[in-house]
């Protein structure tokens, strides 16, 4: 009798402990409202990239944040996406010479990624974005070029070493490398192998899970095309831009570059 009472108490305690956990688990990404909001956020982020629109990045970030706040346990991908939106906001801020916003977005983005990386030590893509965000801070603190540049490269390289077959890491490295001064080992010639590797890896990539990052193919193709354009290999540039538009017909930069090149070289 005593044993039964004890077992019943244990069962009830377990139920009491389990119930709040189960209730919070209901607010996962499986929640249709959160999933819908997440898909809307991804679409807005992509639209922001296509049209280089700050407001869309901000809207996307807000939606990602909303999903993050409604999801338990913490979802590392949502943290990654908030940081990805921050990366675009920081880049946009640099083009608008808004260094305060660039600093805010870079620092906040880094915090989300630190959290994601602490939860998932093998999340190499998060580390690549992290390295890129440190690189963006160079625009705000040019006097810390040596320290920030070194740190940025270290993270980028660690990500590359951990997942050399991740196309987005290769793309981020290539994109970053393009803007590193040649004296520091950067420049278009140094960037191109990374971008070409990224393109080859994107061809093989097949992401089904909507949560997992799948962006970047059009960006890698467009950026490689821009380097070929600089190298006066316009035919190759046009070929790559067409591939970029096949991957993402709304890619604004690819459209504009292709139009400009075709105007110059009518076929």
């Amino acid at each position: 009798m005593m044993m039964r009472k004890w077992a019943l108490t244990l069962f009830l305690s377990a139920t009491v402990l389990w119930l709040p956990a189960a209730a919070s688990g209901a607010q996962s990404l499986n929640d249709p409202a959160v999933l819908k909001s997440f898909q809307e956020a991804k679409a807005k982020w992509q639209a922001g990239v296509n049209t280089w629109n700050r407001d869309l990045f901000k809207e996307a970030r807000d939606l990602f944040l909303g999903c993050l706040m409604r999801t338990k346990p913490e979802n590392v991908y949502l943290e990654y996406y908030v940081a990805l939106a921050d990366l675009q906001l920081a880049s946009h801020a640099i083009s608008n010479k808004d260094m305060a916003e660039c600093e805010r977005a870079s620092l906040e983005g880094r915090q989300y990624l630190e959290k994601a990386m602490a939860l998932d030590h093998g999340f190499a893509e998060a580390e690549a974005v992290y390295g890129y965000l440190i690189g963006l801070q160079l625009a705000v603190h040019p006097e810390q070029a040596m320290i920030l540049g070194l740190k940025s490269m270290q993270h980028m390289e660690r990500a590359l070493a951990a997942e050399p077959d991740n196309p987005r890491i290769q793309f981020l490295k290539g994109f970053y490398q393009r803007y590193v001064p040649e004296a520091f080992g950067g420049g278009p010639d140094s960037a191109l192998p990374f971008l070409e590797k990224a393109i080859a890896l994107f061809e093989k990539e097949n992401i089904i899970d909507p949560l997992k990052p799948s962006w970047g193919k059009d960006m890698a193709l467009t950026n490689a095309a821009l380097i070929y354009k600089e190298k006066k290999n316009e035919a190759k540039a046009i070929e790559l831009l067409k591939k970029a538009l096949a991957a993402n017909p709304d890619c604004g930069q690819a459209k504009a570059e292709l139009a400009a090149l075709e105007k110059k070289e009518p076929r």
């Binding site: 807000d62 944040l65 909303g66 706040m69 959290k115 030590h121 006097e143 040649e182 520091f184 080992g185």
Partner: protein, 703 residues
């Protein structure tokens, strides 16, 4: 009322309600509850609407109108605790957020630890680049550490005098391996330059009090250096200076891991010629380091590495000293789970020293150390558990060839284990509790236990108060222990209280400390050695580093009062390592493509025992000295002005760095010690080796 009118009115009221619902807003300001700084936090309503506040913390969000006039909202920003409130529609909200407590691993709890890893923004940092930019630091982590609070050195030597402690009271670790001879030039009186090449240093930390229980056999401090590890892309550099060449290379090895290595060679010829300081002195140095990092799989890594340092100094054919330091190690790290990691390190080091004064004396000594240690960490967010064990076997040999040959040999095995828990007691209070046990085979008294405790209280996000207390043991000279097995380890109790203010623009630290020595070795009347020695070191320190986009200022002041009764000093007398006041000021201009730094250091002289007179001794047919009270006089104050700078430029699409340094610009003759002739008739000043010296070089990094 007709049916049509009813539906019309219903429709109108519905439109009105919908309109009202759309035009209902909540607005307000979000700020840090403590600092009152605005926060760009995110506001989420219960129905999933959300918006971020702007840079001023202001937000405005459309909400559905509720009969209660209230709406539930959640407010959150990364790093802060989520806040759920019921907001009154139409009222301007003032919302303060509280910081989310940091995981235990991110807080430096022990008082007086300086780290180079800037990831931890909650303690004072000295980054790796500063080792290069601090004037007079000679790109050497040990010399750079002299600007830290609580750290001094004998004039211009590289050894560390931490809070009145002797140089041998500091332990040096390199990638977890204890290095017994960390100096490139380890001479009788002073040691110069370290064997650690800054090109391959990844991080370093200096603990002046409250150090971790994983470190044993040290009474005053610990310097822990880690070498570069995994590199994913080829990098390197080649340098040429008036001292010699230096080189570094790091590259990935496909499918295996990576390699980092460096090789440096230095000669005195050009340096002495350029600075007109020939005088028949010549020296040469050689350093080599290599480390393979092998990734067995995602959670297992193997490191194989080796270090070699060679040094030779000669004064014509009358005197020479040569030393060699060899180290080989193997380390295996395994992470069976995300929050658990363990590293097993096995290493062997050999140090050889030859001191030769032809026709007079020749000393050859060897120190072989075989050691193994296991360190494990278990990160539980609120708790950060560390535990491990180490064993060290050491064989010492010294051979003296003079009028007769004397040989001294001893060997001993030291064992230790430790456990440490760093945990968060509340949102603001972090505590560190640890204990170390260690024993040495040469001592008959068994194990000694060192309890260590510290606490860090986050007064605000930027202000931290730390208190550390700990008991430390050091075994001392193995030759002395071999002759006196009943000797117990020397001990010291540290208590330190420090206040840190860490902001983006400034690192500030103020410290008060007390170090009480017990059981120091004291010579007995019958030639034996006992544990009757005592001593203390009490003082205060102030450190400030101010960072700006165009400049950086560093200022350090140390005050120390220390007395010791030790060795042949039978009364409590001023400690020979007491530097009562020392001040260092550094100003560095950050130029667009380089930097220019100036440093001024001054320190009161260390105590020495004065010679009062000499007496003729008819028995030995020579003069004998009559010494004054032990350490009752002081050397003159030390001062030095250093200048350095660097300039980057591009050559053949490659970055080239030109650097220069002028050491002791005012050519102050700082005195290291006094020497007396055989008949004690006169005193000779032995000046520091650093007169005014110019040093120039070029470095080409490869990426």
């Amino acid at each position: 009322m007709s049916r049509v009118n009813f539906f019309f009115l219903f429709f109108i009221s519905l439109i009105g309600a919908l309109h009202a619902q759309e035009s209902a807003w909540i607005e307000g300001r979000i700020f840090d509850k403590e600092t009152k700084d605005p926060l760009p936090a995110y506001v989420l309503t219960e129905d999933g609407r959300g918006s971020s506040a702007d840079a001023n913390g202001r937000f405005k969000l459309a909400v559905p109108l509720r009969p209660s006039g209230k709406v539930k909202i959640s407010i959150w920003l990364i790093g802060y605790k989520k806040k759920d409130i019921e907001a009154e529609i139409g009222k301007s909200l003032e919302i303060g957020l509280e910081l989310e407590p940091l995981p235990a691993r991110e807080i430096t709890v022990t008082a007086d630890s300086i780290v180079s890893d800037e990831k931890s923004r909650k303690t004072v940092t000295l980054n790796k680049m500063e080792v290069y930019t601090i004037p007079g630091a000679a790109a050497d982590p040990l010399y750079a550490s002299h600007v830290l609070p609580g750290v001094n050195s004998p004039p211009d030597a590289s050894s560390l005098l931490i809070r009145g402690g002797a140089p041998d009271e500091v332990a040096y670790l390199f990638d977890g391996i204890e290095i017994r001879h960390p100096f490139l030039s380890e001479a009788l009186h002073e040691s110069y330059f370290s064997i650690f090449d800054n090109q391959i240093v990844e991080n370093f930390s200096v603990a002046t009090s409250g150090f971790h229980p994983k470190y044993g056999d040290a009474l005053s401090g610990v310097m822990d250096i880690s070498a570069k590890d995994l590199v994913a892309k080829s990098e390197g550099g080649l340098g040429l200076s008036i001292m010699g060449i230096n080189s570094y290379a790091g590259f990935p090895i496909r499918g295996v891991g990576s390699f980092v290595g460096s090789y440096n060679r230095g000669y005195s010829d050009l340096l002495t010629k350029l600075n007109s300081r020939g005088g028949g002195h010549e020296f040469s140095t050689e350093q080599a380091f290599g480390k393979f990092h092998i990734r067995i799989d995602k959670s297992n890594q193997l490191r194989v590495y080796g270090l070699y340092d060679g040094y030779r100094y000669a004064e014509g054919s009358s005197f020479s000293v040569a030393s060699k330091n060899n180290m080989g190690a193997l380390s295996w790290t395994s992470s069976p789970a995300k929050n658990i990691a363990a590293t097993l390190t096995v290493s062997g080091t050999r140090y050889d020293l030859t001191f030769d004064q032809p026709g007079s004396i020749r000393v050859q000594s060897r120190d072989d150390v075989l050691q193994s240690r296991l360190d494990a960490v278990w990160d539980l967010d609120r708790h950060f558990l560390e535990f491990g064990a180490d064993i060290q076997s050491r064989r010492l040999e010294t051979e003296l060839d003079g009028s007769s040959t004397n040989e001294y040999r001893t060997r001993a095995t030291r064992s230790g284990f430790y456990v440490n828990d760093k945990f968060r007691l509340s949102d603001r209070l972090y505590v560190n509790l640890g204990c170390r046990a260690q024993a040495l085979s040469l001592q008959a008294r068994g194990w000694s236990f060192d309890p260590r405790a510290s606490a860090a209280f986050l007064l605000t996000q930027r202000d931290i108060l730390r208190l550390s207390a700990g008991w430390y043991h050091q075994f001392g000279d193995y030759f002395v222990l071999a002759r006196n097995p009943e000797l117990r380890p020397k001990s010291a109790v540290h208590i330190a209280l420090s206040y840190d203010r860490i902001t983006e623009a400034m690192d500030l630290r103020a410290t008060l400390y007390d170090k009480e020595y017990r059981r120091l070795f004291l010579d007995g009347a019958d030639g034996t050695v006992g544990n009757g020695g005592t001593g203390y070191a009490r003082g205060a320190e102030f450190f400030i580093k101010k960072k700006d986009t165009k400049y950086e200022i560093l200022f350090v002041y140390n005050f120390l009062h220390s007395k010791r009764k030790e060795n042949d000093v039978q009364v409590l007398a001023p400690s020979p390592w007491e530097i009562a006041h020392s001040v260092t000021g550094i100003f560095t201009w950050k130029l667009k493509r380089g930097s220019l730094g100036i440093r001024y250091s001054t320190a009161s002289g260390r105590p020495f025992t004065p010679l009062l007179e000499r007496e003729w001794d008819s028995l030995s047919q020579g003069y004998l000295p009559v010494w004054g009270a032990p350490f009752s006089d002081r050397y003159p104050a030390y001062q030095r002005l250093d200048l350095n700078g660097s300039l980057q430029f591009d050559m053949f699409k490659r970055m080239v760095v030109f650097y220069f340094g002028i050491t002791n610009l005012l050519n102050n003759g700082n005195i290291s010690r006094y020497e007396y002739g055989d008949d004690f008739s006169g005193r000779k000043d032995q000046q520091s080796i650093f007169g005014r010296s110019l040093f120039i070089g070029l470095y080409v990094p490869f990426f």
